[in-house]
Amino acid sequence: MSATAPRTPALELSGLRVELRTGEPVVQDVNLSLRSGEILGIVGESGSGKTTTARALLGYATPGARITSGELRLDGRVVKMDESMRPLRGAMISYVPQDPGRALNPSLRIAATINDVLGAHDLRRSGGGVAVSSLERVHLAHAEALARRFPHELSGGQQQRVSIALALCCEPAVVVLDEPTTGLDVVTQFGILEELRRLRAEDSVAMVYVTHDLAVVSELADRIAVMYAGQVVEEGATAELLGSPRHPYTRGLLASIPDHVRPRVLDPMPGIAVGVGERPPGCFFAPRCPQRTQLCETAPPALASINDGRRVRCFHHERTAPIESISLGELQAEPAAKLSPVLEVVGLRAEHRSRREVTVAAENISFQVNRGECVALVGESGSGKTTIARAIAGLHPIASGKVLLNGKELPGSANKRSREQRRQVQIVFQNPAAALNPRHTVGETIARPARLFRQLDRQAIPMEVARLLECVRLPARLASRFPHELSGGERQRVAVARALAAEPEVILCDEITSALDVSVQAAVLKLLRDLRDDVGVGLLFITHNLGVVATIADTVLVLNRGAIAEGGRTADVLRDPSAEYTRRLVQTAPTVSRLPAAEVLSGVPWVETSGGSLP
């Protein structure tokens, strides 16, 4: 296509509206357009309608919802957004789902899965040649051997590459990717992003990249559309949108992202996202907006062009303040001389035993957590970080080494520890939905440790529950609610309150923000910082997210395959990593501060870290 001719967009969507059966809109008034070879990022938190929008591009709505209006053009041709799109799906526009482990049919070999797609579009040719070549296209080594495998025999990164190969095998003009790297390790994620960038350059495929992670999309997308409550609230070229956000929600989102290159004091947005059916009459963001006026509460703003290619849905976009960032290290507490260690781990080794084999989960782990200090354990999945936390909590047997609490050795298993010892070490789990007993009210959940460890009597309990809820910034009326009535962020705060109820000296936080939206994560991180500073509790913070580390940790330990690769003051380790592994982590971890994307990123070789090699 010549550059001078007016180019037909590869995809053009206007006036999309998806409704629930009840008539309430999930997504409304969404317009998107995409040139060939362009990558558009759709960013939003859970419930923003991003996945609904992505699926609507294929004429599909989740059961319970339907597409009620909207016009879709693919390569200039008007397409009806319903099941009549079936022949076009995969051929003209294809979809890469979030969880490749579940999206690939577990009982079909990879080649068979690819041939299914080819067959559906009458593109099946003799032999397995096409299947293999489409695998080679996404840089899967040993494609021929791989094609004969089953999905469970591949690593997560390989599975996602297969998903992408599937989406590309019929050479569609547009690929819709729905959170394709969520759940993958950063290094693996980096490889996938690299691959997408290359495919775009080579084949000029247009891509819609849906994600909750502004940092990831900033490294890939040419343009970004930010969604909130079923609408696009801001759209623009990546660098401009991130450099000077004009919508207060975009700004709030950016200010909530913990970043390891350019850390900030996280500034969580107040309130929680409005759900379907509870959207206010005026601007949907007005209830949480710092710059709202009377106008915002009555009239819905339109998505207006403010300059070339930049659109904002806000009456007062010129008032949005810039975001300030600070330098690495400023967030960390000053190393005081009188720091006293509360928790010491000496030469810890933990194993996973099955009937036949013993796998070492962690070995020779030594560190200490001081009062009022936050120590981060960073590592990818399988690095043994969760096992270490569980061993300290007495939930996993210690094979050798010691855990000392205030200088005294802790027995290995929780039921051999004294009540006092159990009180002093509390653990908060990753998944807030599973960490609370679904049959206990919030009040009962929080009251239990208070009664067990502090012998508070019945009269004192309601007061204490209210105080603890306030401590984690939750209203006291939540005490009578059950966990399923709470949002994810609220549940995690309840879990923190339950830990606080024991008045512990150390809290072990196992990936406690990884299941939360960034704005909720920011609020929880802020809460933990306050607890560390005000209560003086020691924190062991386990995470895979370097941005979170930069925001909250004073000291960081980098774990690689069960051993400590590097440890030190957070700022030192992140600024100048000495271990090769840490360097790779720091280089590949997504950040909004690595613009323009492509230049910095090239040069780091693609390395599959877990289970990727073929025999």
Binding site: F429, A435, R448
Partner: protein, 278 residues
């Protein structure tokens, strides 16, 4: 109290709940009030054996000429006593064994479950008959026998459900708190496995009723001339040609008991799934 109303919502809010409740109340009323309103004694003949319905005996007479209506009205109570007692014993043993096995990560699990398997290999009726031939035919023995037949299934269901909960972080949080084993079972696990247990309860309950009826049919368990719906089916089969009511009515009532209990179990699960969900 709003709490009570919310907790009872599964009963009145689902079709299964309403129908099951009405049916069960009807059968229980027949069984409990029946003995008080029965027009005739249950042991004395009032007419010719196997006669059809008449003014004196609306449901006719049985194989010995006794009033079927009176015997039906008296025959419910022993069925209820037997099923409630045997279910209680079944679940007491089954839940205790299943929870202990599921929660233990030691050899206890294997030992308990292999012991349970041992009971499973016997054909249920044979086990019951052998037991009753050896230990006597009283209703106490029958209750123990039914529990022995049914508890292995309950134990297995409970153990499987427990294993699932046992890996949940909220249980680990409780272990890390140092809760006693009993508190873990009662506070953390039992409320969360009530759904599979209740889904299973309907089937077990029907099983108990059928077992008791079979044993009665074979002439063990209830001793004639006592009235009992299961026994009535057995003893009146010889006159089914002349007075079918003597068999059909007790059979229908037994069926109603199992149907209503199953409906209620379904309603409970439906109601709680809707409320809890995630």
């Amino acid at each position: 109290m709003p709490g009570v109303r919310a907790r009872a919502a599964w009963l009145t809010g689902t079709r299964e709940g309403i129908v099951g409740l009405i049916l069960l109340l009807f059968v229980v009323a027949v069984g409990l009030v029946g003995p008080l309103v029965a027009p005739h004694p249950i042991t004395a003949p009032i007419g010719a054996p196997g006669a059809g319905p008449s003014a004196a005996a609306p449901l006719g007479t049985d194989f010995l000429g006794r009033d079927v209506l009176s015997r039906v009205l008296h025959g419910g109570l022993p069925v209820f006593e037997l099923s409630v007692a045997s279910m209680a014993l079944t679940y007491l043993v089954g839940v205790a064994v299943g929870l202990s096995a599921g929660l233990s990560r030691s050899v206890l699990d294997a030992v308990l479950m292999r012991a349970v398997d041992l009971f499973l290999v016997f054909p249920p009726l044979l086990l019951l008959l052998v037991l009753m031939t050896g230990a006597g035919t009283g209703s106490g023995i029958l209750i123990i026998g039914i529990a022995l037949v049914l508890f292995p299934g309950v134990a297995r269901v409970v153990r499987t459900a427990t294993l699932e909960v046992a890996t949940q972080p909220y249980l680990e949080a409780a272990i890390a708190r140092g809760e006693t084993r009993f508190a873990l079972m009662r506070r953390e696990i039992l409320p969360n496995i009530s759904e599979p247990i209740l889904a299973d309860f309907g089937i077990r309950f029907s099983g108990a009723i059928i077992l008791a009826a079979s044993v009665n049919f074979l002439g063990l368990g209830s001793h004639p001339p006592a009235a009992n719906w299961g026994l009535m089916i057995a003893e009146n089969r010889v006159i089914i040609g002349t007075n079918p009511w003597a068999v059909l009515i007790p059979a229908a009532l037994l069926a109603l008991v199992t149907v209503s209990v199953n409906l209620l179990a379904d309603a409970y699960i439906k109601g709680h799934r809707r409320e809890g969900g995630r």
